[in-house]
């Protein structure tokens, strides 16, 4: 087996990466897509509670950017805050598939304990902070995280994702400006996937490109082919290294394409199907990455197939485990509003009903 699958490199691996790291990135990007496909299946079986969001076509930049971070599990590593389409970043920084499935099933032992949905989840130790639906808010929040890294003299870095659409928000502007003025160790990633729900980028900005905004804030910016995983990794690593060296924030723009609708309910009637087809056929980040790995002899087809098999098994186990998890107890709705005890239950829930207990 080992002999048959040995890779024979015909070119040096760039960006200081090892072959093991290349394979790990492959595993993560494959895992992202397979997990989403699994979730879509569960959605069709009505096992997903509420909406489901796909990142089809954008998985590469999610994984490759987060891969540039220092990943730890003890609260000493870098931190990121994802968007709804950054499942790849989450899996890369350390979220486990079973946790994602529990989230989408609204289980009581999910990271958000059934109180918040999809990948809006947090684990400070593993380095991820859940976003919220009012977009842009996490830019100032992550600027504050980076501020504290500096206040404490820690060489840690923050990374925050924003879509082309939410660059129009006030929170984006105030957060980016704050980070720039304070020269904070923060990497701001604008994922330009051409669509904000149904709104094309030309209705989002009059700027030639989003990376042009970097200059306005007095910070360096770089536009990258978002479906070229190694290019994304290289640019992200440069930005992370700059931040770690105390040289301040960087704005990265990843050019990519959202091949699915905003969420499962969205039939994308506003998009020319040929456009989606073209991206799928000629510019899929995983296809391109696999070709790079194989063409350069950095991996063999057998290796990649074996990784895919492991992922399928891992995901079957994750789903089985998540299905066993209980839904939350209803009264849990009262807890964790404040740190000093639950809020009152409605008086009609007492037996007998008692208004003085409201």
């Amino acid at each position: 087996m080992a002999n048959r699958t040995r890779a024979r490199p015909t070119a040096a691996i760039p960006h200081g990466l090892s072959r093991e790291q290349l394979l790990e990135m492959y595993r993560l990007v494959r895992l992202t897509r397979s997990l989403e496909e699994k979730l879509e299946l569960l959605f069709k079986q009505s096992k997903v509670v509420g909406g489901l969001f796909r990142s089809l076509g954008q998985e590469g930049e999610s994984v490759a950017s987060a891969y540039a971070l220092r990943r730890r599990e003890d609260g000493t590593g870098d931190m990121l805050s994802p968007l709804i389409r950054n499942l790849g970043s989450m899996l890369t920084i350390g979220t486990r598939p079973v946790e994602v499935v529990r989230q989408y099933m609204a289980k009581g032992d999910s990271l958000a304990r059934g109180k918040e949905l999809n990948i809006h989840i947090t684990d400070f130790d593993r380095g991820f902070i859940g976003q919220i639906s009012p977009l842009g808010d996490l830019i100032p929040v992550m600027a504050g995280v980076a501020l504290t890294f500096r206040q404490r003299g820690e060489d840690r870095v923050g990374m925050v994702y924003i879509g082309d659409g939410a660059t129009s928000t006030g929170a984006f502007h105030e957060g980016v400006n704050f980070a720039a003025v304070q020269k904070l160790p923060l990497v701001i990633i604008v994922e330009n996937n051409r669509w904000a729900y149904s709104t094309p980028t030309r209705l989002m900005t009059a700027a030639r490109s989003f990376v042009d905004k970097a200059a306005g804030y007095g910070m360096p910016g770089e536009q990258v082919d978002g479906n070229d995983m190694l290019a994304v990794y290289a640019a992200s690593k440069r930005a992370v290294d700059r931040a770690r060296a105390g040289e301040g924030p960087t704005l990265l723009e990843f050019m990519t394409y959202r091949r699915k609708g905003h969420a499962q309910h969205d039939a994308q009637t506003y998009v020319d199907p040929a456009e989606i087809e073209r991206w799928a056929a000629t510019n899929d980040p995983i296809d391109r990455y696999v070709k790079t790995l194989l063409d350069n002899g950095w991996a063999t087809a057998e290796e990649l197939t074996a990784i895919g098999r492991d992922i399928d098994r891992e995901l079957d186990e994750a789903v089985a485990e998540a299905e066993k998890s209980p839904l939350p107890a209803p009264e849990e709705a009262l807890t964790d509003v404040y740190g000093d005890g639950p809020v009152n239950a409605p008086w009609t829930r007492y037996e007998p009903a008692d208004p003085t207990r409201a």
Binding site: L111, T122, S133, D137, P140, G144, E174, F178, V181, Y338
Partner: protein, 343 residues
């Protein structure tokens, strides 16, 4: 490490046994918390070298340095959000709204992000958002507001609004030590009022959040109020005592959220008559909530319908005759109390 400038005179008043104003009490409270706990830091507009629009943080930058006294761009969303991020990382930020009117600029991040964080599983956000509030200083529509009730309806927040120097110091310390986000309103008409000067204890003390205080004891009528209206109500109570022989009890809420319902109910059960006085505008003011709670829990004890005195449902006007008409005055409280007493 930068050279630390010694503790300046203006934060040594209590140490020297001198009486302090409400503003000085808050300043001392923040200073002491920053000395006690290195996780505490302050952030806001013009708070560094300038010391803040009301000089609240004067001298802080020299003593604590720029890492703990952070001057920010004009960006209420930016620095409020950044404070939340710092709090996530274990810090205890205190941010200043230059005027509390500008807190609305950060409404989304406070109500959607900060207030829900613990519930969502992102942990408690131990931070304080403070700033000068209230009218009576001819500040016009954007330097006079009482926006506390815009946040009262948001589970996850705590809201504090002190009326005395002692409470202000004890409450700012409790707010900084609390594990949840606290909005701390400072009535600017009270900031430097000489009548409010008091000599505070030299030792460290806190006033617990969520506990009202009986400002004046009485048996005939309860006035529930807070902030500047505590003092207007006290003036009215004097008149009522002298001219009508009425013994008015005044409950100063001090903390609006969580509301000290027990203190209100207890007093109402004693006096059987309730007047709620607030400087905030009438519709959606806290009077509605308090009256409903009394309705739920002390209906049988009431000898008259609960009534309220509040500001006009309008923006805060600028010109003195307009603002004086807009705000509740001592005569309004006297009139309402007489109406209740004679009911």
């Amino acid at each position: 490490m930068a050279t630390v400038i010694e503790k300046p005179e203006h934060v040594r008043l209590t140490e020297q046994g001198k009486p302090v104003t409400l503003l000085e009490a808050i300043r001392e409270g923040m200073w002491e918390e920053m000395e006690r706990d290195e996780r505490v830091f302050v952030m806001g507009e013009d708070i560094g070298a300038y010391g803040g629009a009301f000089k609240m943080t004067e001298g802080f930058l020299d003593h604590f340095g720029p890492s703990r006294v952070v001057d920010t761009p004009i960006s209420e969303i930016g620095f409020t959000g950044a404070a939340a991020g710092a709090a996530h990382m274990g810090m205890r930020p205190v941010v200043e709204m230059q005027f509390i009117d500008f807190i609305s600029c950060a409404y989304d991040i406070i109500t959607n992000y900060i207030a829900t964080s613990r519930y969502r599983g992102s942990g408690g956000v131990p931070m304080v958002i403070r700033g000068p509030s209230g009218g009576g200083v001819r500040g016009g529509p954007f330097h006079s507001q009482n926006p506390e009730m815009a946040f009262f309806h948001t589970p996850g927040l705590k809201i504090v609004y002190p009326s005395t120097a002692y409470d202000a110091k004890g409450l700012i310390k409790a707010a900084i030590r609390d594990d949840d986000p606290v909005l701390f309103f400072e009535h600017k008409w009270l900031y430097r009022r000489p009548q409010l000067r008091e000599t505070l204890p030299q030792e460290d003390f806190v006033v617990p959040l969520g506990k009202a205080r009986t400002h004046r004891e009485g048996k005939d009528l309860t006035i529930v109020t807070y902030a500047a209206m505590v003092h207007k109500s006290a003036e009215a109570a004097e008149v009522l005592q002298k001219e009508d022989g009425l013994a008015v009890e005044i409950i100063d809420l001090r903390t609006l959220l969580p509301l000290d319902e027990d203190a209100v109910i207890q007093s109402v059960k004693k006096t059987n008559r309730l007047l709620i006085v607030h400087e905030d505008t009438r519709t959606g003011g806290i009077a509605g909530e308090i009256a409903m709670r009394v309705n739920e829990k002390a209906w049988e004890w009431l000898d008259a319908p609960p009534l309220r005195v509040a500001a006009v449902d309008a923006p805060v006007p600028y010109s003195p005759p307009l603002e004086d008409y807009f705000l509740p005055q001592v005569e309004d409280v006297v009139k309402a109390a007489r109406f209740l007493a004679n009911y």
